[in-house]
Amino acid sequence: MGLFVVSLFCLLAGGGLALVFGRSRLWSSRFGVTGALLGSLFGLAAALRGLGSGQPWQFRLAWSIPGGSLNFGLDPLSAFFLLTLFLISGLTSIFGSKYLEAHAEHKNPGVSWFYFNVLVASMAVVFTARNALLFLVSWEIMAVSSFFLVTFEHEDPRVREAGFTYLVATHLGTAFLVLFFILLGQQAGSFEFEDMAGAGAGSAGLLFLLALVGFGSKAGIVPFHVWLPEAHPSAPSHVSALMSGVMIKTGIYGLLRAIVFLGPPPPWWGWCLVGIGLSSGILGVLFALAQHDLKRLLAYHSVENIGIIFLGLGLGLLGWQAGAMPLAVAGFAGALFHVLNHAVFKGLLFLDAGVVLQAVGRRNLDSLGGLYRRMPWTGLSFLVGAVAITGLPPLNGFISEFLIFRAGLAGAILPLRTVTITASLVIGGLALIGGLAAACFAKSFGIIFLGEPRGAVYADIHDPGPAMRLPLLVLAGLCLVLGLSAPWLLSFLGPVISTITGFEPAVVRGPLIATSAILVYVSATSAVVLALSAGFFLLRRRLLARRKVRLAVTWDCGYAAPSPRMQYTGSSFVRPLTALFQPLLAGRTQFSAPDEIFPRRGTGLVTHVPDLFRNYLYDPLFRWISRVAGQFQRLQHGNIHLYVLYIAATLFVLLIWKLGVGL
C-alpha cells in the first residue's frame, strides 16, 4: 500500500513541478520524466508485490461527497493491470523525454508532462478504485488528460478534429457507465464496490449491456471504435503507445470488474463477447490493411487485438457457464496474457513509428523504404514487434493466441453443441485474423524498412540516441522473454482468474498447471527453432566463407534502367486482399489515366479508405442529431427578457408540480 501511495505522489508531484517550472524547458522536462519514472518504478513494485504475494489490501479515506469515499484496494486483478500500466508508462516516459525535445521550440513540454503524469496517475486510480464515484471521477480525469495529450499539436486542424471526436466518444461511453453504476448502486444500496459484488443479479442482463457499451467504447470494440484511429495517431508517439498499450485496457479491466459484480454469466454473454471479438478482430485488421499512415494502421490493429482479447474472454465466460474448467481457464488466461502482451508489442510498435516519423517526417508509408540499412536498431525492434503482433512463434503474441486457440479446441471437443460451434467460430476467425495480420505487418515492415526509398529523400538519418533506443530494446527483449518464459509466468494469472470468477484458487490451479506443462513444450520447440535458425544461418555463412560471394543489383529480368519507383508499394501489396474484401472497404478512388504520349501532370491513382462505420453510421446519425437540435435554436435568440421569462415559467411549472405532488 505504501509503495502505491508513494507512486501516486511521485507522479502528481512530478507533473505539478513540471507545470510550475514550465518556463524552463529543461527543468520542466526533467521533473516530469523523473516523476513519471519514479512513480512507475514504485508502482511496478507495488503491483509485483500484489501479484506475487496475492495479499489484497484496501484503505479508505473519508470524502465529503455523498456516496463517495476515497476507497482504494489492490487485489490480483488490479495488480495485473497496474503491472501493465507501470511497465509501459515508465518506458514511454523515457522515450518521451527525448521525443518531445524535437517540439521544444514552439511547445511547452511542462504542460505535456503534467497531463502525461496525471494520465498515468488517473489510470492507476481507475485500476484501484473501490468506490463507484471515485472510479468515475478518475475515469473522467483519464479521459480529459488524454484529450489534452492528443491535441498536443493543436495547430493542425486535423488534430483538433480528432481530439474533438475523441472527447465526444469518450463522454458518450461514460454516460453508459454513469447509468450502469447508478443502477447497480441503487440495487446495492451503496456505491462501494464491496457492496456491489453480486448485487446486480436482478437485472444482470441490462447491466451487462450497459457495461459492454460503456467499457467497450473505451476499449475500442467495433462499432464503437471510430474515435480510436483518429485519436491515437494524432498524439505524440509515446502517448500513442501509452494510450494504445494501456488506456484502452481500462475498458477490459472495467468489463472484468463488472463481471465480478454481476456474477455467473448466462451463455449469451459469452456469445456476445465472441461476436464482438470476431467483428472487431476481422474488421480491425481489414481496415488496418487499407491504411497508408503507419500510426493509423497501428491504431486499427489495437481494435483487432481488443477483438482477440474479447474472443478469449468470451470463451472464458462460456467455459465458466458450462463448468468446463480447461476451457474457462485457457480462455481467461489467454485474454489476460494478451492484455499484457499487446501492451508490450503495441507500445514498441508505436514508439518505432515515432522514431520513423521523427526521422523521415512523412506519414505515408508508400513513399518510404530501405530504412533498415539506415536505422538497424529501430528496424530490428520493429521486426520483433511485427512478429509478436502477428502471433507467430516464438514471441509473446503467439503464446496468448495459442492459449485462446487452446481454449477454442477445448471447447470444440466439448459435448455441448452450442459451445462447440462458438469455439470453432473462434478458431476459424482467429486463424483468419492471424493470416490477415501477417499480411498487414509484412506490408508495414517490408515497405518501410526493406527495399529502396520509394520517393522520400532521406537526409542524414540514423538510429535514435540511447534514451529513445533503450525503451525499444527493452520492449523487444520483453517480447522474447515473455514468449519463452510463459510457462512459468502463467501461474501468476491464477489468482487473477480466481478474482474474476470467484473460483477457489485450487480449482484454477489444476488446469493452469496442465496448460503450463503444454507451454513448456511450446517454449522448448520455439527455442529449438531459434537455435536451428541460427545454426542454418551460420552453416551457410561457413559454406560461403571461402567461396565467391558477389553483390549485384536485384535481379530485374534484364531490364535496362531499374528505378526504386518500380518497387511494389504498400497499396499494391495489399491490393489483392482489399479487392477481395471490397464491400467492407468501400473507398474513394480517383483515377485519371494517362491519355497522351507524354502523361500530363495530375494523372495518377489516389485511393482513400474511410471508416465504414464513421461513414455510414455515425456521420448520418450526428447530422440527424444536429438537424434536430437545430430546431431548438429558435429558443435561443439572445433576448434576455425572454430568457427571464423561460426561467419564470420553469419555476412556475415546478411550483405547480411540487404543490400538486404535495396534495
Binding site: A410, A438, A442, G446, I447, Y521, V553, W555, Y568
Partner: protein, 303 residues
C-alpha cells in the same frame, strides 16, 4: 519421443526430395518426355550447397536469414506431424496450433526476404502469398478442428493415432470433406497447380518461385529442401486421414504411409498434367471453398 517418431522424421528428411522427383516424372510421362532423373533434387541440392552466392545490394540480413528460418520452422513442424498412422516425434495438446504457427512463421520470413530485395516481381509474389495463405489458414485449422472433434483429442499425434476404421464408419463424409479441404491447402501452400505453377520461373503468374528469385547457392538449397519437406509434411496430414493404417506393426504402418505418400505424389503429378493454373482472381474462391468444406465437415461431425 518415440521410435515411430524418429522413424517418421528420418523418412521425411531422407525421402522428401524424392516426392518432387516422382511428381516431375509423372508430369514428364504425361507430356511424353523422358524427364529428369528421379533423384534430380538430391543432385541439385548437393550442387547448390557447393556453390557460391550472389546477393542484391539492396538487401539486408533478412534475405540471408529467410531460408535458414524457413528450414528451421519446417523441420520443427515435421517433428510435430505424424506420418500417416505413425507417431510424431513430439506431441502435446494443442500442438496443431504450433504446427500452423511454425508454417506461418516460415511464410512470414520468406515474404520478408522477398521484399528485402525491393524487386517488383518479388513484391508481387509476396503479395499473392500473403493473400492466399490468409485464406488457407482458416481452412487448415478448421480442418484440424474437425479431426479433433471427431477423435476427441487435441494433439496431432493422438488425433492421427485415433483416426481409424471406427471414425471412418461413423463420419466418412466429414473425413472426405476434410481431406478435400486439406488437399486444397496442400496445393496452395506448396505452390502447385492449380494455384501456382512451379515451372514458370519468370512469368507474372507465379507466387513461390518468384519470391525466391534472388536467392542462390546454399540459400537456394535450404529453400528447395524446406519446400520439399513442407510438401511431405502437409502431404502426411492428408495421407493420415485417407489411409489410417494402424496394424500394430511399425514397419507395416510406415510402409502403408509411404505408399500413401507415393499415391499422393502421383495424383499431384496427374493434376498438374491435366489441369491449367487457375486465374489468380479465382484462387480465393477455391480457398473459400475449402473453408466452406471444413465448415460442412464440422456440421456433419457434430450431427
Amino acid at each position: 519421443m518415440s521410435l515411430s517418431g524418429i522413424i517418421s522424421l528420418t523418412l521425411a528428411l531422407v525421402l522428401c526430395p524424392l516426392l518432387i522427383g516422382v511428381i516431375n516424372r509423372i508430369k514428364a510421362f504425361f507430356a511424353g518426355r523422358l524427364g529428369v532423373p528421379l533423384l534430380q533434387l538430391y543432385y541439385d541440392l548437393a550442387k547448390l550447397l557447393r556453390k557460391g552466392a550472389v546477393y542484391s545490394r539492396t538487401s539486408t540480413w533478412l534475405l540471408r536469414a529467410g531460408p535458414a528460418v524457413g528450414l528451421a520452422c519446417v523441420l520443427a513442424a515435421a517433428a510435430l506431424a505424424p506420418l500417416g498412422g505413425g507417431g510424431a516425434l513430439v506431441g502435446f495438446e494443442g500442438d496443431l496450433i504450433l504446427f500452423a504457427g511454425l508454417l506461418a512463421l516460415m511464410r512470414f520470413f520468406t515474404v520478408l526476404a522477398a521484399l528485402d530485395t525491393g524487386s517488383s516481381f518479388e513484391g508481387m509474389g509476396a503479395s499473392r502469398e500473403v493473400q492466399f495463405s490468409a485464406l488457407a489458414e482458416p481452412a487448415l485449422l478448421l480442418g484440424l478442428t474437425v479431426l479433433a472433434t471427431g477423435t476427441g483429442s487435441l494433439s496431432l499425434n493422438s488425433i492421427y493415432s485415433r483416426l481409424g476404421a471406427e471414425l471412418w464408419g461413423k463420419a466418412a463424409p466429414a473425413l472426405v470433406l476434410t481431406a478435400l479441404a486439406f488437399s486444397v491447402v496442400f496445393l496452395t501452400e506448396n505452390a502447385r497447380i492449380p494455384v501456382d505453377d512451379p515451372n514458370t520461373h519468370l512469368e507474372l503468374t507465379m507466387i513461390h518461385e518468384v519470391m525466391v528469385l534472388d536467392h542462390s547457392g546454399p540459400d537456394l538449397a535450404l529453400i528447395q529442401f524446406a519446400a520439399a519437406l513442407k510438401l511431405w509434411v502437409l502431404g502426411s496430414l492428408i495421407v493420415g486421414v485417407l489411409a489410417p493404417v494402424h496394424s500394430g506393426l511399425l514397419w507395416l504402418d510406415c510402409l502403408a504411409a509411404l505408399g500413401g505418400m507415393l499415391v499422393l505424389a502421383v495424383s499431384v503429378g496427374v493434376v498438374e498434367s491435366s489441369m491449367a493454373r487457375l486465374r489468380l482472381m479465382n484462387v480465393p474462391r477455391l480457398l473459400l471453398g475449402a473453408v466452406v468444406l471444413t465448415v460442412l465437415a464440422l456440421i456433419l461431425i457434430l450431427r
